[in-house]
Amino acid sequence: MNLAITLLVAVGLASVVGTVLQQNQPYGDYLMKFGPFWFEVFRALDLYDVYSAPWFLAIFTLLVVSTSACVIRNAPSMLREMFTYRSKVGENELRAMRGHVEWPHLPMSVEAAAIESRRVLFEEGFKFKESRVKEGYMFSARKGSLQRLGYVFTHVAIVVICIGGMMDSRLWLSYQELIGKLKVETRSVPLSQVPEQSRVTASNPGFRGNVNVPEGSSSSVLFLNVRDGYVVQNLPFEVAVKDFRIEHYDNGMPKSYESDLLITDPKHPSNEPVKATIAVNKPMIYNGYAIYQASFGDGGSRMQFKSWQLQGGAAGVSQPVSGAIFQDIPFSVGDSRYTLELNDFRLFNINPVTDAEGKMHEKNFGPSVVFRLRDGAGQAREYENYMAPVEMEGRAVFISGMRDQIGGVMRFLYIPADRDAQIDAFMDFYRRLHDAGQIDRAVLSMLAEVNPEAAKLPAASEAIRSMVEKFVQGGYDAIGADLETRIPKDQLERAFETSARVLQTVLSRMYVTMMQERGVQQIGGEKDERFLADSVAAINALAFYGSPIFLQLTGFEQIQASGLQITKSPGKDVVYLGSFLLMLGVFMLFYIHPRRAWVLVRESVDARGARVLFATTSHRKTLDMARASRELHQKMVIRLGAEPIRMPGARAEMDE
């Protein structure tokens, strides 16, 4: 019993571990979190998958065993006791009971006393057995014996539930792995390349796995995640996703996900394929397999891009690129090669924004594409580019997020959209900034105005142009770095300010020229200043953008994938049976009140009347029981028409 209680607490404590440490995450994340040393320690302790760890299962099993043992030990006697009356209890035993009372001399016949006593028992709803004893009668009564059954139910239930759980657990897989039949796959490779060793036949007694099925295609396998890898579970049928739908609430929150499925059985092609629509909370059952709408994702949407060069002579020039999500597109800029890995497409991006009054509300930023850019050395940066310009602080910008390591913070590049909400004006400007000739023209025309002398000597324009070029290459930092090499510390600040001012003038001149050439009439004014400022900021930011191209999403054809979870759970009904027993049992235990009572009626010593010995007990020592026995005792007093002599020790159970 103490063991039982200890185990109850032990399982409780053990379970806590798995809730504070998020389970079954990619091992990489744990490594980052804990560092190499603790990572290994925790792994050794199976802390990343506590609930299937041997030590955890051991405690659990112990609990089940001890519970079973307990039931086996207690149940037989309890069940027997349910149906017995304990009529063999002798007079002295009754006297020995706490709270027994006695009427040594009642002026009535033994029979009369017997009738009154049994009447009380009868009215109080006792079952009782009447036995003839020397010179009188013995009534042995019981009530609420079913409570014992409650004990049996609760405890058998625990065992049953755990057995059911075992049936659905991964034990079989672990066993296969143990005997080397199964090898967990840790690489992310196409299904076709997953070796037989990492595949589980459909004969697996119970499993629960996931698969993403793009609209219009189908799957006959599942993926079971195991620790830092997975195994492929073959299905005895093929499930096709005809259509996947998300409905949204008016505030952009998803309202429902549902998929139209078509299930075909290759083994019996004759069978009519089964059509069904599933949704969250509305799974389908296909002979023993439950199919759930678990999640959703991209199914390889087709993307069209304009890829704008950011470097070299072709900077600011675009060429069309197209691809599909999950596709890797190799390309090269100059002599360095890159791969573009398209990761995800999002049709809606509901983000919280603070409006002019500083009130928070949700705003849909529209479609975005998430991709990685991997250089020759294998270093990757992750980007998220939004398709349409987004209104920010009163002007429209193209947003591109960048993080240089996975899970790092996103930094954002804001490219101002031009008058017709296009990116072209900025790119045009950017292109011109890579054209030495154009820069020179701007520089000279500027010098001609402010300082004709300087305009004559090439060195001046030379210097300014190279400064502009430095800025375009490396932003303000580059200019700063360059000045530091030439100018003494104390004059740095002033020098930098002058340079910045000069830079500004050159750029704005180039901007004006550009706008004229683009055929814009009235230039100048707040809008243009804003645009120029934003462009300069963007160019400055581009220095850290770390990509040779800017990928502008220009078109898409969305293909969604439905995230299905498919389970085969032979233990489910067992668990439910156990659960039912448990509910029943617990309430029986609490709300059936077990009682026993004895009335011994005999001829009084002087043989001129009856004497009655009365006792009642319960193995539940609660106030209710005490109250009940007091009431019973009162009833006896009323029926027998006389107060008993209270026996010492009687108080204990009779009073509260």
Partner: protein
């Protein structure tokens, strides 16, 4: 022998004493509630699916049953019905047959209409509830220290009326969710804000039951303390986080299971909370020297017994709730058990009280240690209820703070 014989045949025709007969009121109650239930069902059955019908029928029958044995509930039922009817009527006046009118129109009506603004719109009803519960806490303690019976009676009345406001507030909120947008419509037990109301109401009801049954007004203040704490959270959550704004359901919650799983859970939480507060009273009395002549608090033995009763009740319903949860999970997430933090903590809570019950029932433990344990139990429960949402991530991450 003959004697024996005639004992038998005379006893066999014993008349059973008449049991306490059903009064006119009892019958009236039954008729009223059943009529109301049937009426509602007939009017709306065309808009309800089979689960909703059965859940509704179940609720009506259990309300009838509870009211049959517990008269207090009848008055409450009528009060809630009246307040809710008032709310529905006022909304009806403003919006007629329209099922939904949008947030702005709703807010406008609530500002314009006297009854809605000051009494029966969910927001104001909840405010009344909050005020009354806190008031009740003070009144109970006042009654306790002044030893005045009728102040205690007033306190009880406050609790009853707070509960009436709480429940009608929830019903009003239910209607309002539809008024904002038909799609949003759902029973208000779907996020932390809403379940805190549920918690207060259910805890109060459980307490009121024991108060009526065991004459334990002296403990009212203690129980109201935990409710006041819930109210404090509710207010902070409303004014600091605007949590009272009605949001649509996430798909996973859009299920009839929610209607039974959540309330069952909160009967558990409520009883555990009450047990803990009784334990506090118990420990205080113990510190002050235990049972005496002119005691303020009930006998230790009585409190100990109440504590057991509360935990037993809680345990029973918590068991049911957890099982229902598992069945729901099996339908929503594809597995009856996923070791998701919320599930796991439910198990922890359950095991904890199973251990408690074992100690008491099999080892016969009583008194201070068990009292301490049920106080600790409340902390464990609170973590399962709040902490998990705040600190742990998982499938259950609805109504995160």
């Amino acid at each position: 022998m003959s004697a024996n014989a005639n004992v038998l045949n005379r006893a066999s025709d014993l008349p059973a004493l008449p049991k306490a007969g059903a009064g006119v009121l009892d019958v009236l109650w039954l008729l009223l509630i059943l009529a109301a239930g049937a009426g509602t069902l007939l009017t709306f059955s065309n808009t309800m699916d089979v689960y909703e019908v059965s859940i509704f029928t179940g609720s009506v029958l259990s309300l009838a049953a509870v009211g049959w044995y517990w008269r207090g509930v009848r008055g409450l039922g009528v009060a809630v019905a009246a307040l809710t009817a008032l709310a529905l009527w006022r909304y009806g006046v403003h919006f007629g047959e329209q099922l939904s009118v949008g947030r702005e129109a709703l807010a406008a009506a609530q500002n314009k209409d006297f009854f809605l603004k000051y009494l029966v719109s969910s927001q104001s009803a909840i405010m009344w509830m909050s005020a009354l519960y806190v008031g009740a806490a003070f009144t109970y303690f006042l009654a306790l220290f002044t030893r005045t019976e009728y102040i205690g009676k007033i306190a009880s009345v406050l609790v009853w009326s707070a509960t009436a406001f709480g429940l009608s507030g929830m019903f009003a909120r239910w209607r309002e969710s539809y008024l904002i947008n038909v799609d949003y419509g759902h029973i208000p037990v779907s996020n932390l804000y809403e379940v805190f109301i549920l918690f207060s109401v259910i805890t109060a009801l459980i307490y009121l039951f024991y108060e009526g049954r065991f004459k334990t007004r002296a403990l009212g203040g203690f129980v109201m303390l935990v409710i006041s704490a819930a109210v404090a959270f509710l207010l902070w959550y409303t004014f600091d986080r605007g949590a009272n704004v009605i949001q649509p359901l996430v798909p996973a919650l859009d299920s009839y299971w929610m209607k039974i799983h959540v309330p069952a859970n909160f009967i558990g939480y409520g009883s555990f909370a009450m047990a803990a507060m009784i334990a506090v009273a118990y420990l205080i009395k113990l510190k002050m020297g235990g049972d005496g002549e002119r005691d303020l608090l009930p006998k230790l033995e009585v409190m100990d017994d109440l504590m057991y009763k509360a935990i037993a009740l809680g345990f029973g319903f918590f068991t049911v709730a957890t099982i229902l949860g598992a069945m729901w999970a099996a339908e929503a997430w594809g597995g009856y058990w996923s070791w998701d933090p919320k599930e796991t903590w439910a198990l922890i809570v359950w095991l904890n009280y199973a251990a408690w019950l074992h100690l008491r029932l099999t080892k016969g433990w009583r008194g201070a240690p068990m009292a301490w344990w049920s106080v600790i139990g409340l902390f464990v429960t609170t973590f399962a209820f709040l902490g998990v949402n705040m600190f742990l991530s998982g499938l259950h991450s609805y109504g995160t703070l």
